[in-house]
């Protein structure tokens, strides 16, 4: 990992998403897909061609897209409702709350190109609020996979789970981090690297960067624990508390607003149960400037170097306190 992501083969998780969805549809006639004129960006052309009778394009209409998905579930289907996360969540928030969370409809929301993947298109197309919005909705499982293996594992779990799920997916290239036989479990974090001086809790595209940061910290003599918190809701409280109890502080890293998402969730848990210093890395309450996704991640310190610096700063504050 010390070479950085550029030297390693990387993957667009949408390919694992599309192939897994087709595979599940081939096995289970209840699996169907709903899109909002987003066949290209969801990479579901193959699904449409193979299962045209189970493919619904509702046009550019996200409220109806989520409501129709709730109805498909009421009628016995297992709909995967797929669109750009910025529109899927923001435009249809009441349907997500009422038709899915409250009504417990068996719908799988697939928010594509989340975070700042649509960098240059601007804050209208960024989806950095979706974690804060979705994780407060009861009954809705929120998952942020870190790599193609976890994307596939999360989809397989979501199909068999009876209840609403929000899968927050990205198009940002990421290396393969997990073993092929990885099984997703809700409410269970995975510790990808052990360490007892500081803990880095990350999800999605930030997990690979967190591992790189841990390698850099190791070179400086600092042992960092890296926790992949793919299950945002329910969150793994025990893993967070162990990190609080067994290290000197926590850095969270997410491609999202620092308010209300992973950083917020971790801060809530430690503030209640075992207060330690928490540094939240993410978008600090601003609309992002213009730039590519990679530029914006660097701009907000969402890189291995940025996490490393945040970890060292946190440990310095702890030492001088």
């Amino acid at each position: 990992m010390s070479e950085g992501a550029s030297a390693i083969e990387t993957f667009d998780c949408r390919n694992a998403f599309a192939s897994t969805l087709e595979e599940m549809a081939a096995r289970d006639p209840r699996v169907c897909a709903v899109v909002n004129d987003s066949i290209g960006s969801t990479k579901l052309k193959g699904f449409r061609d193979r299962f045209p009778e189970r493919f619904v394009n509702v046009g550019i209409a996200e409220q109806n897209m989520v409501g129709t998905s709730a109805g498909l579930a009421t009628g016995g289907m297992i709909p995967f409702c797929c669109g750009a996360s910025c529109f899927l969540t923001a435009r249809s928030m009441e349907q997500v709350k009422v038709d899915l969370g409250y009504a417990k409809n068996n719908v799988k929301l697939c928010g594509m190109s989340s975070g700042m993947a649509y960098g240059e298109l601007g804050p209208t197309h960024h989806s950095i609020e979706d974690l804060a919005w979705t994780r407060v909705i009861p009954n809705l499982t929120v998952i942020v996979p870190a790599d193609p293996v976890e994307t596939r594992a999360a989809l397989l779990w979501a199909k068999d789970h009876v209840g609403p799920v929000f899968l927050r997916l990205s198009r940002m290239p990421v290396p393969k981090l997990l073993l092929d036989n990885h099984v997703f479990l809700p409410g269970k974090a995975a510790t990808l690297r052990d360490g007892d001086e500081i803990a880095i809790i990350a999800n999605g595209v930030m997990v690979a960067r967190a591992l790189d940061a841990a390698e850099r910290l190791h070179a400086r003599g600092v042992e960092a624990r890296v926790i992949n918190m793919a299950s945002m809701s329910p969150i793994d409280r025990d893993a967070v508390l162990r990190a609080a109890q067994e290290t000197r502080g926590i850095v969270t890293a997410e491609e999202a607003s620092i308010y209300g998402g992973l950083g917020g969730a971790v801060a809530e848990i430690v503030a209640e149960e075992h207060p330690v210093r928490v540094k939240r890395l993410g978008v600090p309450g601003v609309f992002a400037p213009t730039g590519s996704a990679e530029f914006l991640l660097e701009h907000f310190g969402l890189t291995a170097a940025g996490i490393e610096t945040a970890a060292i700063d946190l440990l310095d504050k702890e030492t001088t306190q």
Binding site: N64, V66, T68, M77
Partner: protein
């Protein structure tokens, strides 16, 4: 579904519907009075539609509300839950005793229906504009499964001001969902005033026709009209049906009829007594 070929049978059915709708109206008003909350105007305008659906149109098994082959009915105007619960009791799906708990602490009977609490309820509604998209999805699911069950959804008329309905209207027509029937309770009054004062809906039938629906207008208090139209869907192959049911808000209680304030006014004790007396005397 009932076969209405015999005149005597039809007359018996209509009498049963009249009695049941009267019970639904009386119970809904009592429930609202006891809860000191509710929407009596819409309960009364929709009572004949609801009883016709549940007692004569929907293919359901009252003892088995989750029967997979059942017709789906979605009350999109979830604020008229008192009328829905009272109708479910008339249909033998909900225990009549439960009606007394309407909106009490920890009651299963919320002010707006919850499908996870009440058997026979298909959707959690209350915020407007949710029912038609859900019904569209139900109808798509039946088509995907090549199943013969049908989907019915009842919306308010003010409710169709919500844009989500028009998203669903395009979708249902595009996919040719002739197994979907929308009924609009066209009582011409919404929360604040008459619909045409707040935000014009007319010409409403033309709008739905333009969206590609088969549209028919009925008197929403006339059982002949309701039975004729609702038992004969689909009316046009490849098109969803929109039934504009012209109704009177507060129907059956003279001092509540066509008065916007009865959208969610709670009757006084004397008003409840007067209303129940009027309903008791109601003639077909």
């Amino acid at each position: 579904m009932t076969d209405f070929t015999g005149k005597q049978e039809l007359s018996g059915l209509k009498e049963r519907l009249r009695k049941s709708a009267g019970n639904v109206r009386a119970r809904a008003l009592q429930m609202v009075y006891h809860a000191k909350l509710g929407h009596p105007g819409g309960d009364l305008s929709s009572a004949d539609i609801l009883t016709t659906l549940y007692l004569a149109v929907l293919r359901i098994e009252p003892g088995n509300p989750s029967w997979p082959e059942r017709d789906r009915f979605i009350l999109s105007k979830g604020h008229c839950s008192a009328a829905l619960y009272a109708t479910l009791a008339e249909a033998g799906i909900l225990d009549e005793q439960a009606l007394q708990t309407f909106m009490e602490p920890l009651s299963l009977l919320n002010g707006h229906p919850d499908r996870n609490k009440v058997k026979g309820v298909e959707a959690n509604t209350g915020p407007l504009g949710h029912g038609l998209p859900i019904a569209t999805g139900c109808a798509l699911a039946a088509k995907m499964q090549k199943a013969s069950w049908r989907t019915f959804v009842l919306t308010g008329d003010g409710e169709v001001q919500e844009g989500s309905n028009w998203e669903a209207a395009l979708c249902a027509a595009h996919y040719g969902l002739d197994n979907l029937t929308l009924i609009i309770d066209r009582n011409r009054i919404q929360q604040g005033d008459f619909t045409e004062t707040i935000l014009k809906l007319d010409p409403l039938a033309e709008k739905w026709r333009a969206f590609g629906w088969y549209v028919v207008e009925v008197n929403g208090h006339d059982y002949d009209d309701l039975l004729r139209v609702l038992s004969a869907v689909p009316h046009e192959k490849g098109k969803p049906t929109c039934v504009i049911a012209n109704t009177i808000k507060g129907r059956g209680v003279s001092f509540m009829e066509n008065k916007p304030q009865w959208h969610h006014r709670v009757p006084l004790e004397s008003e409840l007594a007067a209303a129940l007396a009027e309903l008791e005397k109601d003639e077909p």
